[in-house]
């Protein structure tokens, strides 16, 4: 049998509005239905829809690794990748050779437990010492079907001095519904670099949960971007732990929900060691009747002296029906630190809009210019121009600018 259905069962209770972390992102609607979980290559409904291409960024010269409804798809994947990199799905590897680390998320959260219980597969990615991987690795999750659920978990280890760029992209056809529950854990060794772009571009009505947990050793660098292009209900959780001296963490994000879409970004930056810098910039434009949440925690532990932490969340509420709830949470236990943060919710700058229009630029084009400028600071740090251009194109196409 390649598919089984289940009503989620877990020992932990599903989150409710009573919990502060889930107050603005209720999931009651998800709990009513049974979902189907594929265990073998998924065919989708009546064949795989052509609208969902296996390669999400054609212009990018990358290694592609494809999962359909959570199941690895070898015929569409470019494995193995270059020397010095172990990059194999768990289903295809000797378990004794597998990376094995876990942050215990499955014991803390219902979402995590579901992933642990129903996990199908995931990529085990290990970059050896001083290896600079020649091309980005694009992990593409495709979803198609009614009430389908997929439960990937990826492990990434970047050894000392190594460099890696990973893109985790998820797509879903318009007829899809169900759940995407994706976990990713990464460890970045001393002096190593991980660039990670997470893009959600899902049609249909999929509950999208993703949880990234990243541990940084001394002098390592993380460049992370979280783009929500499209998604009916999306929650991105990101946890970064700076465990060695002198780490640098840059994590940015953007979201432009339409209609009744819901977007939730929960981030945690935990400075446990000294001389670290972190810079976080999330920007969003809320259209229609969309709803949003931003919650950014920053911890600076007693040993994290000389930390420099910056956080900013800027929102534009474009339409009357839209709303976002934004909350910074800073807990600082060291005295010699620099922390700056700001969360704002505003409207399009009417003076700027009038200025542009007074030069003969119509309202739509003027807004597009302002949006592009607004997103510019987030897009400019993406690791390749092919990727940032594709993301901007998708926003442009979707919003009809």
């Amino acid at each position: 049998m390649s598919v089984f259905t289940d009503k989620f069962s877990a020992t932990l209770p599903p989150p409710t509005r009573k919990s502060e972390r889930w107050k603005y992102s209720p999931i009651a609607k998800l709990l009513n239905n049974e979902v189907s979980i594929s265990t073998e290559a998924a065919q989708g409904m009546n064949g795989w829809p052509e609208s969902v291409l296996p390669n999400p960024v054609l212009s990018l010269d990358a290694y592609l690794v494809v999962f359909k409804n959570g199941v690895f798809e070898p015929t569409l994947s470019d494995l193995p990748v270059s020397d010095g990199v172990d990059c194999i799905p768990f289903s295809k590897m000797d378990p004794s050779a597998s990376l094995d680390f876990s942050n215990g998320y499955h014991q803390k959260e219902w979402i995590g437990e579901l992933n642990e219980t129903y996990r199908q597969d995931g990529l085990c990615l290990h970059v050896h010492r001083n290896v600079k991987v020649d091309r980005p690795i694009v992990i593409h999750h495709l979803t198609d079907g009614l009430n389908v659920a997929s439960f990937p978990k990826h492990l990434i280890k970047v050894d000392e001095g190594a460099e890696l760029n990973v893109v985790v992209w998820s797509s879903a056809s318009e007829r899809s519904s169900g759940m995407y529950n994706g976990l990713l854990e990464a460890s970045i060794g001393p002096n190593a670099l991980l660039s990670l772009e997470k893009v959600c571009n899902e049609g249909g009505k999929v509950f999208h949960f993703s949880h990234e947990h990243i541990v940084q050793e001394r002098d390592s660098k993380l460049k992370m971007h979280t783009f929500t292009i499209k998604g009916d209900w999306v929650r991105n959780e990101l946890e970064i732990i700076s465990r060695g001296k002198g780490t640098d963490s840059v994590f940015n994000g953007a979201y432009l929900p339409l209609g009744t879409e819901h977007i939730d970004n929960h981030t945690t930056m935990d400075h446990t060691s000294s001389d670290g810098t972190s810079s976080e910039l999330y920007r969003g434009i809320m259209y229609g009747d969309s709803t949003g949440v931003f919650n950014g925690k920053v911890f600076v532990r007693p040993d994290a002296q000389k930390t420099n932490a910056f956080q900013q969340n800027t929102n534009i509420v474009a339409d009357r029906g839209a709303a976002i709830n934004t909350k910074p949470e800073l807990e600082i236990y060291a005295d010699d630190v620099k922390c700056a943060h700001g969360c704002t919710v505003g409207q399009f700058d009417l003076d700027a809009l009038f200025y542009l229009k007074s030069r003969g630029i119509d309202e739509k084009a003027a807004k597009a210019l302002l949006v592009e400028a607004f997103l510019g600071d987030v897009l400019s740090s993406v690791s390749s121009t092919e990727l940032s251009e594709e993301i901007m194109n998708l926003y442009t196409e979707r919003h009809g600018w």
Binding site: L350, D351, A352, F354, K357, S358, R359, I361, L369
Partner: protein, 254 residues
């Protein structure tokens, strides 16, 4: 070219323009002077189509087109240009992209193809040399971090790029040093032609020595209360506005 008839406008409950009349013929340059708060910038904004001002009466006709029916961008495409008293900074939008979008908007309106990159750059070069706008300023974000005088030069640069039919300059001289005033005036004079009209709002007769007006009007309490030739500016310089002010009915405006 432009006929303003009994124009009335307000913001909230605050009536600012109270029956303003003005006619500008092709090629003419009209100066508008008047006390602070009399409604000069409001007139400029209403003509350019700022929708935070509510037009409560009157008509504005530009070569047979009822301007009041049009959105700001369509007025610009019909040939209206406003040089702002306080130009807006737009971080992240490059000056050049801005001008390209503006030019192409206008061209699309006339059924023309987007301008070729080469022609665009040539035009940029020509217009920026007209007002001696530093190349580095052109490449930066719109007005971001520009000095007051640089912003004003940028306004005239944009005017030169867009070649309007009717240019409204709102205190373009304020904040300019003596040399810059000369450069900007030279730019404006170079653009004067028998088909292009100007409304120049200023507080200083000094500007009108460089840019010589055909008519001078005094706007006070939302109306034109006096019109004359260029010698009126000299008279105002000497006597101030008190002798012209209408007794105001709205005490908050005194």
């Amino acid at each position: 070219m432009l006929k303003i008839n009994n124009l009335c406008a307000k913001v909230g409950d605050n009536e600012i323009l109270k029956g303003l009349n003005l006619e500008v013929k092709p090629g003419e340059l009209h100066a508008i002077m008047g006390p602070n708060g009399s409604g000069k910038s409001t007139l400029a904004a209403v003509l350019a189509g700022r929708d935070s001002y509510e037009v409560t009466g009157g008509t504005v006709d530009l070569d047979g087109v009822n301007l009041l029916d049009l959105e700001a961008s369509d007025r610009a495409r019909e040939g209206v240009f406003l040089a702002f008293q306080y130009p807006i900074e737009i971080p992240g939008v490059s000056n050049l992209n801005f001008m390209k979008a503006a030019l192409n908007g206008k061209r699309a309106h006339k059924g023309q193809e987007p301008i070729k990159a080469k022609d665009f750059l040539a035009k940029v070069k020509e217009c920026s040399s007209l007002v001696e706008l530093d190349g580095r300023l052109r490449d930066r974000s719109v007005n971001e971090g520009f000095s007051g005088g640089e912003k004003k030069r940028n306004e005239i640069f944009q005017m030169a790029m867009l070649e309007p039919k009717l240019a409204i300059l709102d205190e373009t001289d304020s904040g300019l040093d003596i040399d810059a005033l000369r450069v900007v005036s030279k730019g404006v004079n170079a653009m004067r032609s028998s088909e292009r009209s100007f409304i120049v709002i200023t507080h200083y007769q000094r500007l009108l020595e460089h840019i010589v007006p055909d008519f001078v009007h005094v706007l006070s309490n939302g109306k034109i209360v006096k019109s004359g030739g260029k010698e009126l500016a000299l008279e105002l310089e000497e006597k101030g506005y008190d002798w012209l002010k209408e007794p105001s009915h709205d005490t908050s405006n005194v």
